[in-house]
Structure formats: structure tokens, C-alpha cells
Symmetry: C2
Subunit: 266 residues, 2 copies
């Protein structure tokens, strides 16, 4: 259904705005993705928004038109509104011309098919949504099956994570679990758990990686708890030539993942 909204106090506007908040996203099971590029990525990955919100600016884009068609065909809503209201919804001064509401995915471990990919990324207590989105993007690049979020991580469906993922939020699997549940699940099947570590570690190059390889990185400031590291099958260390003893979490995940990718392909 297509409709126009011109009032700031319209309930749909309020509902859309509320999706910027994690609590509301969780309750509604919905999240917002902004921008034509992201929505096009989603569409090409087979994800059509339940609701498409467009600014009523003059110059229509052919990609927006085809998105609108797809949404309508699937019985979704198309909302046309003013740039000002769209700015209020997205919380940005210069909003993209279009945004979409998507249903959150099943993020239980039960949905993870570990045999479907040689690499999986695992983040523990990762707090920065930008890092989380970047890990999703890296996962897409290395052909990972998805990202497993252990303990209290940033929300993968936040605007910042979705944006940083560059569309990978729609293609990578996402699961969330507490550490004991994750470990139980992991040990219930094949899977090598690898952590970047300074303790009792072997050089990351030439380490005996095996598929499916689960690449684990820890919290931005505290790293991984010692007992989590101890539970890993393999601890690897990357050269640190300077005075710092760690890399950015998303960077560490990427350097390690590319090494695993190369090792598994040889």
C-alpha cells in the first residue's frame, strides 16, 4: 500500500523513529536500513523491506522505482514523506533519500549451518557497532558463513552496524549466544576455535588452521577472558613491532581471517 505522510506526529513516523532504539527494535523484531545502496544490496540478496520510506523529492531514481515495485508486489507498505520527516526518522541532518524496514533474522545458534562455510567469525563482547559492521563486511569478503556474537555485543541491527557492514548484514548469517551455550554448541560438531592471543600462542602464519574455522576476537579494551582463550583449539599471535600490544578488533579479525582463507585454500 502506498501512502503519504506529511505530519511529524504521525504514529508511523513515531514508530519508525523508535527503531533507532535497541529496546524497540527487539520488541518489534524490526530494524531500519538507510540509503539506496544498502537497500539495493538487500534486494539483490533477496531481502525486500516490509516498509519502504521515501522522501518526496522530485528526481526519482530508477532503482527506487524497482524497489517500490518489489515492496508492493510482496504486500509491503510504501510511505512517501518529506525530507524533514525522513531526517527526523533517521536522526541525520542529511538523510538518504530512502530507508527500509526489515524483519530481524533468526539469530539463534540453531540457524547456523557450520558446514556451509570454511570460516566463521566470532566476536566476544564487541562494543563498537562500527567494528561489528566491519566484521560482517570482512566476513562477506573472505567467504565466511557469518558472525557469531558472544556475550554482550553491540547490536548488529543498529544503524551504524548496518551501515558499516555495507550490505553484508543481509548476506552474512548472524547468531547471538552466551559463551557457555556457544561452546556447547561448537563442541557438538566439527569446528576449530582460533583466537588471536599473546598467551601460549603460535605464529599466525603457517598455523594449522582447519575448516570450519571459527575466528574469535574479544572486547575492544579488555580482549578475551583468559578462560575463553584457554578453551580455544589454537591460539595464534600476530607480529607487534611497535609499542602497542594489540590491533583494532575488526582489523585483527580481518588479518587472521585472510590468513585462514589462504591456508585453507593451499
Amino acid at each position: 500500500m502506498r501512502r503519504e505522510i506529511t505530519g511529524f506526529s504521525n504514529p508511523t513516523v513515531k514508530w519508525l523513529r523508535s527503531l533507532r532504539d535497541k529496546k524497540h527494535r527487539r520488541r518489534e523484531g524490526r530494524f531500519l536500513a538507510e540509503g539506496l545502496r544498502l537497500l539495493t544490496d538487500a534486494y539483490e540478496s533477496g531481502r525486500v523491506p516490509e516498509m519502504l520510506v521515501m522522501a518526496d523529492t522530485r528526481d526519482a531514481h530508477p532503482l527506487i522505482a524497482s524497489l517500490e515495485e518489489a515492496v508492493t508486489a510482496e504486500g509491503g507498505d510504501v510511505v512517501v514523506t518529506t525530507p524533514d520527516i525522513l531526517a527526523k526518522i533517521t536522526g541525520k541532518d542529511n538523510p538518504q533519500a530512502v530507508a527500509g524496514v526489515f524483519a530481524e533474522f533468526d539469530t539463534s545458534l540453531a540457524a547456523v549451518r557450520r558446514g556451509a562455510a570454511p570460516i566463521w567469525l566470532v566476536a566476544q563482547a564487541l562494543r563498537d557497532p562500527g567494528n561489528l559492521g566491519t566484521m560482517l563486511r570482512t566476513g562477506d569478503a573472505v567467504g565466511a558463513g557469518g558472525l557469531i556474537l558472544v556475550d554482550d555485543c553491540a547490536d548488529p541491527f543498529s544503524a551504524e552496524a548496518v551501515r558499516a557492514s555495507m550490505g553484508a548484514v543481509f548476506t552474512q548469517g548472524i547468531a547471538q549466544a552466551r559463551w557457555p551455550d556457544f561452546l556447547d554448541w561448537l563442541r557438538g560438531g566439527e569446528g576449530q576455535l582460533v583466537a588471536a592471543s599473546l598467551r601460549d600462542a603460535v605464529p599466525y602464519r603457517g598455523a594449522p588452521y582447519a575448516a570450519p574455522c571459527f575466528v574469535l576476537v574479544g572486547n575492544e579494551s579488555r580482549g578475551l577472558p583468559e578462560d575463553y582463550e584457554a578453551a580455544c583449539d589454537l591460539r595464534v599471535t600476530m607480529p607487534m613491532r611497535g609499542r602497542a600490544d594489540s590491533l583494532n578488533a575488526a582489523v585483527a579479525a580481518a588479518v587472521l581471517s585472510y590468513e585462514v582463507l589462504a591456508a585453507l585454500e593451499v
Copy 2:
């Protein structure tokens, strides 16, 4: 000199606040670094702030005391103020208990001693200060000499870049230049310019890297201009197994830099 400031309208408070703005930083040649960890990193790298700003909270930290001593010994200012005023200065609701004002460094290419390190990072039109800080941090880790910023990049002395660098802003060299000037400078001595590229590129693993190796990444959305890529000595490509055709810029720089590091050490 040690002094107390209790008024929001104090000129020093205004001056400190103004350092959050790039234009003012440039004019004053000063920047602000927040947090005990960052200031300690700076101190250990031989950088003592010209001015130390501390909140007058009760529990003094021994590291803050030794910082204060160092600043006083070098003739710098110590400002004690309220947490509220410190929050106003840093623009954060929960400010760190301490901040420092540092003189910006010489960022001319003339200050770059290319023979001093086997790897240098080069960013072109990089817009995200977090990415820039992350590149500095990665540079420290791979033993790079520093980061060269080509064309209009984010400000390496912004609070966000300084924070993301995790102290590397104090240990890595930083230079800024327009592309033609950078290329002239580069060709005036030894140096291999390497870009991550999709055009006419060889696999990044096993590519013939040579020191000093300048690892170049481009703008977050547009990548490198075609003629910039053409001017490189080596174009390398990283596997892209998913649907995206690029990595986050700081991630690409890191994966490539670690490969260069490994190649140069063999």
C-alpha cells in the same frame, strides 16, 4: 604553573573547547588528547603535554601525579577544574579525568625519513577519522614509519582519530601532501608504491614487495582515482569471495601491510 578554573566562561576553557574544531587546531597548532591511557602512552613516547587539564575529583592516580610532575618540569601549565567543565571541554558526558594539549607535529614530507622503516602507510582522501586512527594503530603494529595523508583526508589530530590510534599518533610519523607533491617526493628516492586494486592487479600473496614499501589505500566510497592506481609500481588484489568488491579502508591497509611485513621478513 598550576591553577584552578571553576568558571565555564574562563578564556582558557573557551580556548580548550575551540581545539575540538579543526580550523582552530590548525590556527593554534595544538590538539587535545583525552584520557590517562593516551597521555601515558604519549609520555612514554617522550611527548609531554604543554597543558594538562585535570578534574578535581578526590582519588588522585599516581600516573596523573607523575604526568603533572613532568609537565611542570618542562614549564607547562597544569589546570585543575570541575568534571562539568572538563565535560564541556571534551564535549563528552562522561569525560576522562584528564586531558592534555600537545603541539601538532611537522607534517611536511620533508620530515619523512623513508629509509627509517620498511613500510609506510599512505591514505588518499580518507574521510573517516576512526579509519585514520586505526591505520596509525596498524602502522605501529607492523613497524611502519608513519602515515602519509594524500589530498583531503580527515584530521589526524581530531579527538576521534587520536583516540582510535590508541597512542600511535604519538609514535607514528604523520605527513600531509597533495598527490602531485607526494608523487614527486616519492620518485625523488627509493620507494615502491603499492595499491590494493581490482584493475590489472596480481594476487596480494606472493607479490614482489620491496622496502621501503608504501601501502596506498583510497577513499572509503570512491576508492583510488584510476590515474593514481596507474602511477603505482604494483597493484595487488585480495580475494573477494562474497558479493562486495571492497574491504573497509583500514582493514584493507592492515591485511596488505601484514602481507608486506611477512614478505619483507622472509
